[in-house]
């Protein structure tokens, strides 16, 4: 009797199973992965993309130092530098009649140096003065007084009037104003134009936004993953037992879980964080509490439905102990849902964590964290859009990747129960 496509019903003639089918069995995982591509079509690409993306994110989270160009907490450039722009150069303007004047000459405690209010000139001056101080001989200390002016004209007038000894501004700020002030000269070498800018710009303190984001990944992942794991470890066994045992225990627990579940998430997290106080551990706990009911509900529901399945009754009829029924029959059928919830959960936890730190809970203020950066960037939406855009994008991207992974896993994890 010739063989068909492998699934052969054998009769008393002891039919042979074709060799290639036995081989296929031995080939194993890699081959099956390749076949999976054929099975699952479009969804397969989802998993691949989100998987690779997440892997990359996780690597960045584990080894931020490899990726971040700068230390996230250090002031590495002028504040509010737009992305990609090199830091501008700065000129020192002085009265021409004094001959060539360098900063050194007017950097004593008795000197006044002016700049436009809010300009990066202040930082440029600070840096230049620090440089002077570094190379200065013992005992000498440069500490000119700073004077802020509303506009360039005011400052230049003050300079001419002798109220200040020098004025620092970038060529862009000066523009062609010098044409009107022939008595002023510019020392163009105060600060050279920088060669490279910062990919994502700098924030108001001058920290590199890119580095902060990269280091922020670590916190986000730690908090996200830890809280998801805690939720899982608490929620799944409770759901299993509650669904299996039933009765008043189940009723009470469900009531409890439903009450937690009905709270708007962020508010609940805030309340718990407020009670527990600051610290990364407490944040993890607050967020974890939020998601326990989700695991509980889904696992309990699945337990209830699996409990009714015929194969559980078959297990009972074999004489299986209830402990084994839980672990061998119910749990394996419940795990796929748990994995899916977990992946979505992590993304959501990261979002919640960003929300919490945005509102000022939990993390020390200068931690490189997306939520904190978002909070700090709020005031600068118009002036320095990059302060919130990039952290916001990161949160979205990571949350999306986790969700995508979770969704596409659901197709693959459920066995194909129907054939032909």
């Amino acid at each position: 009797m010739k063989s068909l496509d492998g699934q052969e019903e054998t009769t008393s003639t002891q039919e042979e199973v074709p060799e290639w089918l036995l081989d296929l069995d031995r080939v194993g995982f890699v081959r099956r992965l390749l076949f999976a591509r054929k099975w699952y079509g479009g969804d397969w690409w989802f998993v691949l993309i989100s998987g690779i993306l997440l892997l990359f994110i996780i690597i960045v989270g584990i080894f931020p130092q490899w990726f971040a160009p700068y230390d996230p907490k250090v002031e590495v450039g002028p504040s509010l530098l737009p992305p990609g722009e090199a830091p501008p150069s700065f000129w020192l303007l002085t009265k021409s009649e004094g001959g060539e004047i360098e900063l050194q000459d007017i950097a004593d405690k008795t000197n006044n140096i002016g700049f436009i209010i809010g300009s990066a000139a202040s930082q440029a001056m600070r840096e230049a003065v620090d440089e002077l101080n570094d190379t200065a001989p013992e005992g000498t200390r440069y500490q000119p007084r700073q004077q802020r002016f509303e506009t360039l004209e005011e400052g230049l007038e003050a300079l001419i009037a002798g109220e200040i000894d020098g004025f620092i501004a970038s060529p862009e700020e000066i523009g062609s104003a010098l044409d009107n002030y022939p008595s002023l000269q510019a020392d163009k070498t105060l600060r050279e134009r920088g060669e490279k800018g910062f990919v994502f710009g700098t924030n108001q303190i001058g920290q590199d936004v890119l580095s902060r984001i990269i280091w922020g990944t670590r916190i986000a992942l730690i908090v996200g993953l830890s809280s998801a794991v805690v939720s899982l470890v608490v929620g799944v066994p409770l759901g299993l037992i509650s669904g299996f045992v039933g009765g008043p225990f189940d009723r009470i627990l469900t009531l409890l879980m439903d009450s937690i579940y009905s709270f708007p998430g962020l508010i609940l997290a805030i309340s718990i964080a407020a009670v527990l106080g600051a610290g990364i551990g407490n944040i993890i706990v607050s967020i974890a509490v939020l998601y326990v009911p989700t695991y509980f509900r889904i696992v309990r529901g699945q337990t209830l439905s699996v409990k009714k399945e015929l194969y559980v009754e078959a297990a009972r009829s074999l004489g299986t102990k209830w402990r084994d029924i839980l672990t061998k029959y119910i749990l394996p059928n419940v795990i796929p849902s748990v994995v899916i919830i977990f992946s979505v959960n992590v993304g959501d936890a990261i979002l919640t964590e960003a929300g919490l730190s945005f509102l000022g809970f939990g993390l020390p203020p200068d931690t490189p964290d997306w939520g904190i950066d978002l909070a700090r960037g709020q005031d600068y939406v118009r002036r320095a859009w990059w302060l919130i855009t990039y952290p916001g994008l990161m949160v979205t991207l990571v949350t999306l990747s986790f969700s995508m992974l979770g969704e596409s896993l659901s197709e693959i994890l459920n066995p194909r129960l129907t054939e032909r």
């Binding site: 194969y311 009972r316 074999l318 004489g319």
Partner: protein, 343 residues
């Protein structure tokens, strides 16, 4: 008690069921529970007695609502009785603790109707089959794989090594039922409850499965309690058959005896209703009118009387009991004698 559980005793009957009653409470709403004291019950099994001899295949046949599945489940101990006695090899099941009953399970196994639903989708076939061995004989765990391979070959899942690691969704329906059979047999039980075991199999596979079950019965000295609604199939495997209607046995005897000399009007109707695969032999008898009544409120007296073409006044007043009218042939009908003269 342990000895009794594990050794075979030499009683005449493997199973004795006496006056078995199983009523299921009807779900009521909270308000109903507050206001009315009476609860309704689904009288699934309402006073059934029979014995199963060692090595025989006893068929429980009936339509829906007959109680056949419930009787099977109570006999095996999967369901608790409401009243009556179920005695397995001299042991009254109600005297056993939960743990003792669990151990006794080794000797009573089940083949379910839906093979796909009765197999854990996440357990490989080999693991599923060896469960019984692992549970009841944990000391010999090392041998279990070979024992499972052995029985897989016996039920026709060959080469066994190939199927051992497969999962239920990777094999065909007929093969799945073989897995279920193997799982039931691996602990060498005394009694097998077969609950419509071939109803869901393909037509061309049914003959194979029936044959397999008969073959295995002889080889392993099994006793079957065979639940079915298909009287045609029952002919090929059952030694004795009990016809059930609305929770009671209306007729019971050797199968050939019941099919040749049906004495209860319901049995006669049922046998006539089964289509015969012979276009020259078409049914001419009319069918009883109406349908099976609600088991919550069965008709008084003889439960079949509202549909019975021969019903008389006594039928609605007095319930007939099983009486032996021919040798080994019991019927529950006031007028069964009238059919004795027919052939």
């Amino acid at each position: 008690m342990d000895n009794l559980i594990n050794d075979k005793n030499n009683n005449d009957y493997l199973v004795e069921v006496q006056n078995l009653i199983k009523w299921f409470p009807v779900q009521t709403t909270f308000i109903d529970q507050l206001f009315s004291k009476e609860r309704d019950f689904v009288r699934a099994v309402d006073g059934v007695s029979f014995n199963i001899r060692r090595g025989e295949v006893l068929g429980l046949a009936g339509e829906s609502g007959s109680g056949k599945t419930t009787i099977g489940r109570v006999t095996i101990g999967l369901e608790e009785k409401t009243k009556g006695n179920v005695i397995f090899d001299g042991i009254d099941l109600s005297t056993l603790s939960a743990e003792e009953l669990r151990k006794l399970r080794r000797r009573m196994q089940v083949i379910f109707q839906d093979p796909l639903a009765s197999l854990n989708p996440r357990m490989s076939l080999g693991d599923a089959i060896r469960q019984g061995l692992d549970i009841h004989y944990p000391e010999t765990a090392n041998n279990h794989r070979d024992m499972v391979l052995d029985i897989m070959e016996k039920v026709g899942l060959s080469p066994a090594k190939f199927f051992y690691n497969k999962f239920p969704h990777q094999i065909s329906g007929g093969q799945r039922q073989r897995v279920v059979i193997a799982r039931a047999l691996v602990t060498q039980p005394d009694l097998i409850l077969a609950d419509e075991p071939i109803a869901m199999a393909d037509v061309s596979v049914r003959a194979l499965l029936l044959d397999l079950m008969v073959q295995l019965k002889d080889e392993f000295n099994l006793t079957y309690l065979f639940i079915t609604h298909d009287l045609a199939t029952a002919k090929y495997i059952c030694d004795r058959i009990a016809i059930l209607y609305l929770g009671k046995i209306v007729e019971i005897s050797e199968l050939t005896e019941v099919y040749a000399y049906p004495l209860h009007p319901y049995t006669r109707a049922l046998l006539a209703a089964v289509p015969v695969p012979d276009p020259h032999d078409r049914r001419t008898e009319p069918m009883p009118k109406g349908e099976i009544p609600n088991p919550i409120n069965p008709p008084p007296g003889c439960r079949f009387h509202p549909r019975c073409p021969y019903a008389q006044e006594i039928c609605s007043q007095q319930e007939p009991f099983l009486r032996e009218l021919r040798i080994g042939h019991e019927v529950a009908c006031h007028f069964a004698e009238d059919f004795l003269t027919e052939s």
